[in-house]
């Protein structure tokens, strides 16, 4: 079925290090991409998004990179903190669309 996949299901990093979470998407028609963070017992929360007319977008401590040629997304978290420990999902949709397809998720562990 439709899917957005992830290369690394689990990532463990030391507090203060940078984290990189990768994602491959499958639908070439998708032009809007989102990263969500899901903490235990909660629903996913929006972190950052990017449209296909950009290849990089920066937020507070987070950066999303988009490579349309190879249909690849990454989320970079600078100076990772214990509060960043969660499952991270990439997701894709298209302009004006409602349905969003989510990837399998990567669990990030931050070691103090």
């Amino acid at each position: 079925g439709e899917s957005v996949g992830l290369h690394l299901p689990t990532l463990s990093v030391q507090e203060g290090d940078n984290s990189i979470i990768n994602c491959a998407y499958s639908n070439s028609a998708s032009d809007y991409f989102i990263w969500y963070k899901q903490e235990s017992g909660k629903g996913p929360q929006f972190i950052i998004d990017i449209r296909s007319n950009m290849d990089k977008r920066q937020g507070q401590r987070v950066t999303v990179l988009l490579n349309k040629t190879v249909k690849h997304l990454s989320l970079q978290i600078a100076a990772t903190q214990p509060g960043d420990s969660a499952v991270y999902f990439c997701a894709e949709t298209f302009t004006g669309g409602f349905k969003t397809i989510f990837g399998a998720g990567t669990r990030l562990f931050v070691k103090a």
Partner: protein, 115 residues
């Protein structure tokens, strides 16, 4: 309300029984979505409602699953004759409009366990 509310938060049911899961979206949000999250897995799209349009049911895994949205607000996801493989967290989200413009707000989910 302030957020998307789902009830119950946990539900344990016997195999073969029917269950109903409820979602109260944010007031004024025209779009409502249901996703299923199996243990350690990603979010699987089930169905979405947008305004008065016919719902997109393309993700419902079998005819045991159905959903309705009454009065453009509250939604109920019904699973008939539950099976053990239905055990998962069922997440509801709502949005003001299209996903790219308004984004989703998720509820905390209903954890369904079929024994």
């Amino acid at each position: 309300g302030a957020g998307v509310s789902q009830s119950p938060s946990n539900k344990v049911t016997e195999k073969g029984k029917d269950v109903e899961l409820r979602c109260d979206p944010i007031s004024g949000h025209t779009a409502l979505y249901w996703y299923r999250q199996s243990l350690g897995q990603g979010l699987e799209f089930l169905i979405y409602f947008q305004g008065n349009s016919a719902p997109d049911k393309s993700g419902l895994p079998s005819d045991r699953f159905s959903a309705e949205r009454t009065g453009g607000s509250v939604s109920t996801l019904t699973i008939q004759r539950t099976q053990q493989e239905d055990s998962a967290v069922y997440l509801c989200a709502s949005s003001l409009g299209s996903a790219d413009t308004y984004g989703y707000t998720f509820g905390s989910g209903t954890r369904l366990t079929v024994v």
